[in-house]
Amino acid sequence: MSGTVLPARAGRSAPPALVIAALVWITMILLIAVFADQLRPFGITALDLKARLLPPLGFGGTAQHLLGTDELGRDVLSRLIVSIRISLVIAFGATAIAAVLGTTLGFLAAHFRGWVEQVVLMLIDFQASMPFLILALAVLAFFGNSLPLFVTLMGLYGWERHARIARGLAIAANAQGYAAAIRQLGARPSRIYLRHVLPNIAATLIVAATLSFPEVVLLESGLSFLGLGVQPPMTSLGNMVGYGREYLTRAPWILLAPSAVIVLTTLCVSLLGDWLRDRLDPTLS
């Protein structure tokens, strides 16, 4: 998600200040997620019953609990740091699953055409025409909730975007000289698609992933907010908002801290994605 995804030609002019600010925020959030265990001052389940509902520093709180504490005296900052890690891991995992699944189906459709392509197109239509939240809720109702299932389910979000792009671009690539030349040399289809077509269309797919990443964060936090996503004692950003809602009148900081992180992160990734799209591929919408 850092500067490494930019190909050489994107370096012609410096990105706007807003995009740089977004990159700084994203880098910071990533570092927090990676070093969560070193950064958090307290354990997420460590209770301090003498310091319950303590406001943040500057609003009558102490330096020991910078962002205050919740009803059980748990440190909000520590919970926030761990929540960032869990929400990001889920969002990254889900985006990766969606990208791999969508690209594979798109390649299959482009390679076999005929009925395979029709089936893939029908699945794309189905996925695009149903609100994903409802489908996800239905699956959770039928199967119950567990973390692996939840991540897999999130991974079904947005695959149709990758499938559509991969299919279109692979069909176009098949008509070009380089794919035909490799095929004439006797390369297996898997080699053609993975070693030759994929690197040529990767930039577009990465942009698509950048666009669906914030949507996955919103979806995960929404489901966790409803109590149907990440389950306690684990915590995620949406989970914290859902919990903080109970103390809206007495301790709004429990809810405001994770809300701000969700909004800023989705905003920054969207800004970055929009900018990347304009640079790399203006045709993608």
């Binding site: 029908m122 039928f142 949406g238």
Partner: protein, 306 residues
């Protein structure tokens, strides 16, 4: 035109069939319905009798056909919580949901479309920047955060409006604003980019060059052409009238379909979930079908294509 209609109808029917298949597959994958409904401790004979009574002893494809037939007859099962037909439970919640989603839909249209058009007509102006900033906020601020912030401001701090529940029109204001603002942002963004695309076309320049007043160019040439992509988004919004308020209803404890769905999911009340799933699929497909028809009216070129 008839061929166009027929193709669209087939596609709509296929989507519904896919949703029913999805429900059937997920339902069967989640475990043996006999064991789930009778409880695992039930005697073996009772389970066998239950299987026979409900046709669960037959091959899976016959079960599938029977399932399809039952749904076509409107038999959607009973709620496991209070034994009433699932469809009745869902239907009695629909008015409450529509009481939120219809005004919110109007708010989206009245706010989003004019804002998008103004932003496109005055590209890079202050208006444009404000509209775009609002639009980005519209889809990066999740509805539960926006809703809770509104509650914090207008209910807790100022005390002007109730924070939740459903008594009187005043309790509907905050949920409608929460729903409407997010959608208006998305709509404004779409309208703006559709307008910008159209305004760059040759026929707009031709119309201006031959002396047509700018207002007339916008009204007669730009707006109708920009309507096509915008109608798609509006169609999606119509389709989500029934289930588009799941999160917002939860935030404001509003007794609508979304609330029912969340409770049903938490309790694994499968019949109710399935009923809502099919109803949402029905509205989405109908809305998409209507959008396709509108396309045909708006753009004669699309009638033959695709």
């Amino acid at each position: 035109m008839l061929r166009f209609l027929a193709l669209r109808l087939v596609r709509a029917a296929l989507t519904i069939a896919l949703v029913v298949t999805f429900a059937f597959v997920v339902l069967r994958l989640s475990g043996d319905p006999a064991v789930i409904i009778m409880s695992p401790e039930a005697p073996a004979e009772a389970i066998a009798a239950f299987r026979k009574a409900w046709g669960l002893d037959q091959p899976i494809w016959i079960q599938y056909i029977n399932y399809f037939g039952a749904i076509l007859h409107g038999e959607l099962g009973q709620s496991m919580r209070d034994g009433r037909p699932a469809i009745a439970l869902v239907l009695e919640r629909i008015p409450a949901t529509l009481a939120l989603t219809l005004p919110a839909f109007a708010l989206k249209l009245c706010l989003g479309i004019p804002a998008g058009i103004q932003a496109a007509l005055h590209r890079n102006s202050l208006t444009d920047r404000l509209v775009m900033a609002g639009a980005v906020a519209g889809f990066t601020v999740p509805s539960f955060v926006l809703g809770l912030l509104l509650v914090l401001l207008f209910a807790v701090t100022l005390g002007w409006l109730p924070s939740g529940g459903q008594d009187g029109w005043r309790s509907g204001i905050l949920p409608v604003i929460t729903l409407g603002l997010g959608g208006a942002g998305i709509l404004a963004r779409f309208t703006r980019s559709a307008m910008l695309e159209v305004l760059g076309q040759h026929y707009i320049r031709t119309a201006s060059a031959k002396g047509v007043p700018w207002r007339a160019v916008v009204r007669n040439h730009a707006l109708p052409n920009a309507a096509i992509p915008t109608v798609t988004v509006i169609g999606f919004m119509v389709g989500s009238l029934i289930a588009g308020a799941v999160v917002v209803e939860s935030v404001f404890s509003w007794p609508g379909v979304g609330r029912l769905l969340i409770v049903a999911v938490a309790n694994r009340d499968l019949a109710v979930v399935q009923c809502i799933l099919l109803m949402v699929a029905g509205t989405m497909v109908t809305a998409n079908f209507a959008v396709d028809l509108l396309y045909g009216l708006l753009d004669p070129r699309l009638r033959g294509a695709r």
